[in-house]
Symmetry: C2
Subunit: 146 residues, 2 copies
């Protein structure tokens, strides 16, 4: 399964658990080293976004907080917290499948992925995916607002 497909599968799993549907994976050298789905309500943890959980899982898997050279794929544009974690983890590249016009920190609301003053930067890639948008629309219809 490709990284984007796995992230979408995780977003579906989040939705099944009545969480806002977001999934994320971290891969490096052709291998997925971390995965996460949004679990904010389930864990009652404001930091339990898919991306942050995927980063923590990847760091735990490789035994290093530095994920240098890794790519994070998220179904939704990372928020400031998650982009901050991406930079802290020294992740190289971010792929996201839908924009977040309310919290997106990869261009929608702000963008500090290439901030000149920080000692790490990452590249961004937007790969629009209609399945992801449908999932979120369905969630809002069924569960109300995040």
């Amino acid at each position: 399964m490709q990284a984007a497909e796995q992230a979408i599968a995780l977003a579906i799993a989040a939705s099944d658990a009545h969480e806002f549907p977001v999934g994320a994976v971290v891969h490096r050298d052709g291998m997925i080293i971390g995965a996460g789905m949004n679990q904010k309500e389930t864990l009652k943890d404001p930091s339990a976004h898919a991306e942050l959980l995927a980063i923590r899982a990847a760091s735990e898997a490789i035994g290093d907080w530095r994920l240098t050279g890794a790519t994070l794929v998220s179904t939704l544009e990372p928020c400031p917290m998650c982009l901050g974690a991406i930079l802290q983890a020294r992740i190289e590249h971010v792929v996201y499948l839908a924009k977040d016009i309310r919290w997106g920190a990869c261009g929608s609301v702000m963008d500090f992925s290439q901030h000149h003053a920080l000692n790490h930067r990452c590249t961004l890639e937007y790969r629009p995916n209609p399945t992801v948008v449908d999932l979120m629309k369905q969630f809002f219809k069924q569960e109300g607002k995040r």
Copy 2:
């Protein structure tokens, strides 16, 4: 013990554990509901900053990801990840005791605490404390760079 004193005690504990000395507490209604110290190296977790751990501890303690009305006190100016988590957690007020000219997201490098587009904002208060600065200087002398 006041919140700032407890945050400093946690920064000292971090230093004793050979971590960059940062401590943070979350308080509300006169009670400390969460505390954390930087444990990035120990936990091999890029998200294990004092502030993020204090927020997670507070949410766990009260059983809610929303920390509405709470104040976070950190010995160091929060980074973008931690300020993002502060906003995600709906924290109202942030006090920090030293500036971070490399990663500070409360004015030193960037500041999105009052971003017009986000659905939550927080107020900031800088209370310079020489003990905190001494602790960090001592760390750089003894342990090299973070």
